[in-house]
């Protein structure tokens, strides 16, 4: 036997052949997603092929680690909540628009109060020019009664965009009492309970000091868990940070770090992880970076489930389910040629659906111009309806699961998210990280680099830095304005409300509130509800708590 002296050249594999052919034709420019992950031109089984880790990393929906969805049936069972932001003008205006949306296929409420309310004021404390321009002027139980007239508050999921001290929800609770609806029948979310996100990235919602917000939140969680167990008293917000410039991986990482901070607070207050954490929900941006967003959410679900088990020893299935509301990203929309935004929102909405969210708001195309009008809001909800009921994309659960690219990207996003969490941990947790300005600086850097990419043309924004059309009247869309006579009547209504209530009762309610704020064995949120029952307005409750617990002053905007 003679050994072959020459080893015959091994035939190139398909992959090797492709690599050579690809290099000959490709433009050579590397591609990165927004989170900075470098994308290969193609993915094959060798990039993600781990059948042995299928159960551990992917599995089936409704099963740990929930990569493919938190419920077994996902949209084959109940669909998501089509939850459209509504806020404009007076309580009557809200009522009309909400009923219109419910008739158009929306099945949930997403209440946006006036900016003055966000800032913690009644309308008589601010310039009337600003009232009702961006949200509904609602200051009293009477206002909420009008806003919800004829709407079954126990029959729809109520998203209340109302930061600490949650006065609007207190109005809802008292309205439920009036209507004979038990609190246990209410479902919905305290959408803006995540004060960290306000301190970092949405100052308008930042009403009380960090310490004050912390106190009220823990009491709010405890109160709602006890009296209204189907209510989600905390929604942790990655959306504000991504809108402010955070990359998708940063937004997810910072939101999860915030959630861990809130969990630690509740545990320190004596609560048991499996008794409260299933009522934590999340709220995220869904940008036009299509596959990245889908991978972000698949990875987020997995990280949440794992860390809840590993860090907190959570045992209940419901504790491990990562529930979230998604909002299509307004920052991706353009003022130029605004009708193009309908296409963008449809793509963002599709990404949200393929990622397995529980609740969705789709932006109106005039988002970059003004507060959406009734007409543009209807197109936005119809976009959801088209996606949900015409395209067939909801027929198969996690339809992208098993794609080598999506699975690999999900793993990489997971690594990026875990890296963000590790950096926050190293600073002592989210509270410390924001107090030191670390999170703000990181987000600022990402925002700058995104802007630079647009200015240099590295990132294309159609109609802005490419395919521009002459700046004629292509961006003029009618803007809905509050009716000034109706706003005047709202001032009269508030004055009448203040005049007609019992001053003695009011004093009792507000002093009870101040007392509760200063006694940690009292529940401040219970005192908020009581103060409102005694006739207090939104602004009076916030003013009282600002006095007792401190005014929320963010760091200098660009110091």
């Amino acid at each position: 036997m003679v050994e072959a002296s020459v080893v015959p050249a091994k035939a190139a594999t398909g992959r090797e052949q492709w690599e050579a052919d690809f290099s000959a034709q490709a433009d050579g420019r590397p591609r990165f997603n927004r989170s900075g992950i470098r994308l290969q031109p193609i993915y094959g089984p060798e990039d993600w092929c781990a059948p042995q880790s299928f159960d551990e990393r992917i599995g089936y929906p409704g099963q740990f680690p929930y990569t493919r969805g938190i419920y077994p049936a996902m949209y084959r069972g109940r669909g998501w909540s089509r939850r459209m932001l509504i806020g404009l003008g007076t309580p009557e205006d809200f009522n009309r628009r909400q009923k219109d949306m419910l008739a158009s296929g929306s099945n949930a409420v997403n209440f946006i109060p006036c900016n003055s309310v966000f800032r913690g004021y009644d309308i008589d404390e601010v310039d009337p020019l600003l009232v009702g321009t961006c949200g509904t002027a609602v200051n009293t139980l009477e206002d909420m009664r009008i806003a919800m007239d004829g709407i079954d508050i126990a029959g729809v999921s109520l998203g209340m965009n109302d930061p600490s001290p949650f006065t609007l929800l207190a109005f809802i609770l008292l309205l439920a009492e009036e209507r004979g609806t038990p609190w246990s029948k209410l479902s919905g979310t305290s959408n803006q309970a995540d004060f960290i996100s306000h301190f970092v990235a949405n100052h308008m919602f930042y009403r009380l000091s960090l310490e004050g917000s912390r106190r009220v939140l823990v009491d709010h969680i405890r109160f709602m868990n006890r009296h209204s167990p189907a209510w989600n008293p905390l929604s942790i917000v990655g959306q504000h940070m991504q809108q402010a410039g955070a990359t998708p991986a940063q937004a997810m990482g910072f939101a999860l770090s915030s959630a861990f901070y809130y969990i630690d607070l509740c545990i320190a207050a004596g609560m048991n992880i499996d008794d409260f954490v299933h009522r934590f929900t999340f709220f995220f941006d869904v940008s036009i970076s299509f596959f990245e967003e889908i991978a972000k959410f698949r990875a987020g679900r997995r990280v949440w489930a794992r860390l809840l088990r590993e860090r907190y020893g959570a045992k209940a299935e419901r504790s491990l389910r990562f529930k979230f509301h998604a909002q299509t990203s307004g920052a991706d929309l353009t003022r130029q040629q605004p009708l193009n935004n309908i296409a963008r929102v449809a793509i963002q909405g599709l990404a949200a659906i393929l990622s397995g969210m529980q609740s969705l708001h789709t932006d109106a195309y005039d988002e970059a111009i003004a507060t959406p009008s009734a007409r543009t809001a209807r197109i936005a909800i119809q976009t959801q309806n088209i996606l949900a009921e015409e395209t067939g994309v909801t027929d198969v659960i996690d339809p992208l699961g098993g794609s080598w690219f999506i699975e690999r990207l999900t793993d990489q996003m997971e690594d990026a998210i875990l890296a963000v969490i590790a950096r926050v941990d190293a600073l002592g947790g989210m509270f410390e990280a924001v107090r030191q300005g670390f999170v703000q600086a990181e987000i600022g850097r990402s925002a700058e680099s995104a802007q630079l990419q647009v200015e240099t043309g590295e990132t294309t924004v159609v109609g802005v830095n490419k395919y521009k059309v002459p700046d004629t009247d292509d961006h003029r869309t009618p803007v809905d304005r509050p009716n000034s006579a109706a706003i005047d009547r709202q001032y009269d209504r508030l004055a009448r409300f203040k005049q007609q209530r019992s001053q003695a009762q009011l004093q009792k309610g507000l002093s009870g509130l101040a007392h509760a704020a200063n006694h940690t064995n009292a529940n401040v949120y219970e005192a908020v509800v009581e103060a409102i029952r005694c006739g207090a307005t939104h602004g009076e409750v916030v003013t009282t708590l600002r006095r007792e617990l401190g005014f929320g002053q963010p760091l200098n905007l660009a110091g």
């Binding site: 800032r119 600003l130 321009t133 100052h203 003022r335 003004a370 963010p554 905007l557």
Partner: protein, 142 residues
């Protein structure tokens, strides 16, 4: 030596969105200007008094949810205090139909989403130099 351009960057009214604010602040600094950023929610009188004390040449107002409606009131107060020569610009979300009123009240320019930072920097530099030259000419020509 060229005097550094001094810019007061602020937000009035109720809004607190600050992405654009931060970007503009950084861009103006990078362009060599001195930027005085404030927190959000300033009262009009507070803006006027900072502008006066700090002797700024430019005031930039960031508005993303209708706080621009207060800007004409700011312009009146600036005029009352003799600060007519301060260059005031507005950036953010301002419906087209409101732009005319802002310009009529004395605002030099309104920058909308999609405006580039370079454009903002150039505008400020050009207008400030025009103003300085005009002032110089006035002095020289008596």
């Amino acid at each position: 030596m060229r005097k550094q351009i001094k810019v007061l960057l602020t937000k009035i009214g109720l809004d607190g969105h600050d992405r654009g604010f931060r970007l503009v602040a950084a861009a103006l600094r990078d362009a060599g200007m001195e930027v005085l950023p404030t927190g959000p929610w300033l009262k009009i009188d507070e803006v006027v008094s900072i502008a006066m004390q700090e002797d700024v040449e430019v005031i930039g107002i960031s508005s993303l949810s209708f706080d621009h409606l207060l800007v004409p009131k700011l312009m009146t107060r600036l005029r009352d205090e003799g600060l007519d020569d301060v260059l005031v610009i507005v950036g953010g979300i301002v419906p087209d139909e409101d732009v005319g009123e802002l310009i009529a009240s004395g605002v030099a320019e309104v920058f909308h989403p999609g405006a580039s930072l370079a454009e903002v920097v150039r505008f400020i530099e050009d207008r400030v130099w025009e103003k300085r030259n005009a002032m110089l000419a006035k002095v020289v020509n008596g």
